[in-house]
């Protein structure tokens, strides 16, 4: 009965009635349109800026799969993100012939496994212990890479990208942008599919009352682990193309604060209840940051994002999406 109500409600609005496959089709069309617009602007800066914003959509969506849907806060975004980036550095040195999409998948698998391990050890306890463990995880993974000479240690490593993109010709950044758009489509499609499946209802049950969910037979630990692995894997995949994007990766840039702050702030500013929130947050905040870092400075960037984050969690807990939903009702 509940599902029929949900369906009826979904059919009132165009996009909500789409099946998962049709939704992927729509996303791909949008992605192609965005790529076309960026190409039409015709400046390489447009690609660099758009890449960062789309990367934050992926990161924010990944964080939201665990944070927004189950209510477990992951602070170790930088760890998962940098794990993906550094796995690319390793493969660039060992197997340079490997195509980048394969490297992205490997980075995702590695980050997912680390998520599984951390989650397995800490997710049986109260949520705050998981959050604290992920905070510490970011420090320890940074320590590991700082001490690992093969990937350049504290000095960092140069990863020189090919001059031209494979398949499409053109500058390499266009290829990276297409790859990131593809990741974005995959992340958003996954997030929306979760929301509409039994998995999503299980996640929501955990978020609302974990003890009650456990008592009603929801396999809470397994569901939390699934969310952690998916979330970590997408973060790793978002980080994997980074070395080619910056062409020089050191621990300070790979573990940059901005990733952690943004990946948490963007969903919370946009709204955590569904897949639209992280997109709205990433586009607005990411766009604002691109503007501010050009016109003012990048330290002010983090300050603005932090202020927005605190402002929204205190004053508008449902985010921008929530503000609009409330007005419509």
């Amino acid at each position: 009965m509940v599902s029929s109500v949900v369906k009826a409600e979904e059919e009132r609005e165009g996009l909500r009635g789409l099946s998962n496959l049709a939704f992927v089709g729509v996303l791909i069309l949008v992605a192609v349109a965005i790529f076309g617009i960026t190409l039409w602007i015709g400046q390489s800066f447009a690609f660099f800026a758009a890449y960062v914003v789309v990367q934050y959509i992926v990161l924010g969506t990944a964080w939201n799969i665990l944070g927004g849907y189950t209510g477990y806060v992951n602070f170790g975004i930088a760890a998962f993100f940098a794990l993906g980036a550094y796995s690319t550095v390793v493969m660039h040195k060992l197997t340079p012939w490997m195509p980048l999409p394969v490297m992205v998948l490997v980075g995702g698998v590695l980050a997912g496994l680390v998520g599984l391990g951390t989650g397995y050890l800490t997710l049986r306890l109260r949520g705050v212990f998981f959050s604290i463990a992920t905070l510490a995880l970011a420090v320890v993974v940074q320590t590991l890479f700082t001490n690992w000479d093969f990937v350049g240690g504290a000095r960092g490593a140069y990863v020189v990208p090919p001059r031209f993109a494979p398949l499409i010709g053109g500058p390499y950044v266009e290829y990276l942008f297409i790859l990131m758009l593809g990741l974005c489509v995959a992340a958003l499609a996954t997030a929306r599919a979760i929301e509409r499946s039994a998995l999503g209802y299980g996640f929501a049950a955990i978020r609302d009352d974990e003890a009650a969910a456990e008592a009603s037979g929801v396999p809470t630990l397994r569901l939390k682990l699934i969310a952690t692995v998916l979330s970590g894997a997408f973060m790793g995949m978002a980080g994997a193309p980074l070395p080619y994007y910056v062409s020089y990766l050191d621990p300070t840039s790979g573990f940059n604060l901005n990733y952690a702050v943004n990946a948490i702030a963007m969903p919370l500013i946009g709204g955590t209840s569904n897949w639209v929130g992280p997109v709205v947050g990433a586009v607005l905040v990411g766009g604002l940051q691109q503007y501010v870092s050009v016109t003012i400075s990048s330290a002010v960037n983090v300050l603005i994002t932090g202020l927005l984050l605190v402002g929204f969690v205190v004053l508008a807990p449902q985010g921008i999406v929530g503000l609009f939903q409330r007005r419509r009702r």
């Binding site: 602070f75 306890l125 212990f129 959050s131 905070l135 320890v140 984050l309």
Partner: protein, 291 residues
């Protein structure tokens, strides 16, 4: 072999001293997280604020760094009460501590850090006092004053707060909040009011912890992050809310970290706290002296 044994003894002694310093920076979280169940991950940022207060007092007004932070204690106390008030109205009353409450402190952490960067830049800052150089000669070994003073400060804070909590009316009320808020409410006491006082105290300890930190090492705005894992590892290992457990955990972590730094290199030391934290959570989440 002999040289190794000497190194080991030295590492244990300086680890012990550093452990006392860790107690000074962790005690605020032992109050906020252990007793009030408020996960203030921004605490290290306020410790740094204390360090910079000591720095300003020392370089601009030429006073002792510890005395400088003692002067700022009331300001930190009020700041803590304000922070709790916002937290209470926005999250605790709405029962939304876990997701948004945590993110709130995360945002505060970055606002404080970037604020310090914009105000003081990213250069390392340090203080000058009679104890920042020189050693206390004990015949068999020498103890640097730079480590000894923060150690003593940490011990004094632990003993003082323990006495306050067990001997005074408000102290006992804080312990009552930690044990059973509902029962306290039935006695017609307002838990929020007592928690506000306790959170103010927790912030005040950050000021003194900051003085200890800048005596031990030069500071720059982002080193607070290194202490997040360390402080929470100590509080979890010690058993939440238990001061004796926290001191034991702080000294243990101090010794293990110094031994790691001595034998494997200082760049590995930050990994120790995470290892300790994970093992504790996996094996004995209630900590060594946990209830």
């Amino acid at each position: 072999m002999d040289a190794d044994a000497g190194l080991l003894i030295n590492a244990v002694i300086s680890g012990l001293l550093i452990g006392g310093f860790y107690a000074a920076v962790s005690i605020g979280v032992a109050i906020s997280f252990g007793m009030l169940d408020i996960v203030n991950i921004a605490h290290p940022a306020f410790i740094l604020l204390g360090s910079y207060a000591a720095f300003i007092g020392n370089t601009v007004f030429g006073i002792d760094p510890i005395l400088a932070t003692v002067i700022t204690l009331p300001a930190f106390y009020v700041l803590g009460m304000l922070a709790y008030q916002v937290y209470y109205v926005a999250f605790e009353r709405r029962d939304d501590q876990s997701l948004r409450g945590l993110s709130f402190f995360f945002g505060i952490l970055f606002i404080a850090e970037v604020g310090l960067i914009l105000a003081f830049g990213v250069d390392y800052r340090s203080v000058q006092a009679w104890y920042t150089t020189g050693n206390l000669n004990l015949g068999i070994t020498e103890l640097p004053w730079r480590l000894l003073v923060p150690f003593l400060l940490g011990l004094a804070m632990v003993v003082g707060l323990q006495l306050f909590l067990s001997r005074t009316f408000i102290g006992r009320a804080i312990q009552a909040v930690a044990q059973d808020q509902q029962a306290l409410r039935l006695m017609a006491a307002n838990p929020a009011k007592i928690k506000r006082i306790a959170f103010g105290l927790s912030f005040a300890t950050a000021a003194l912890g900051g003085a200890a930190l800048i005596i031990i090492q030069p500071v720059e705005p982002s080193i607070g992050r290194e202490y997040i894992g360390r402080i929470f590892a100590i509080c979890v290992l010690g058993g939440l809310g238990s001061f004796p457990g926290m001191v034991i955990a702080a000294v243990t972590l101090g010794i293990v970290e110094t031994i790691t730094a001595t034998f494997f290199g200082p760049s590995w030391a930050p990994a120790v706290s995470f290892g300790v934290l994970l093992i504790t959570l996996a094996v004995r989440p209630s900590g060594i002296l946990g209830r």
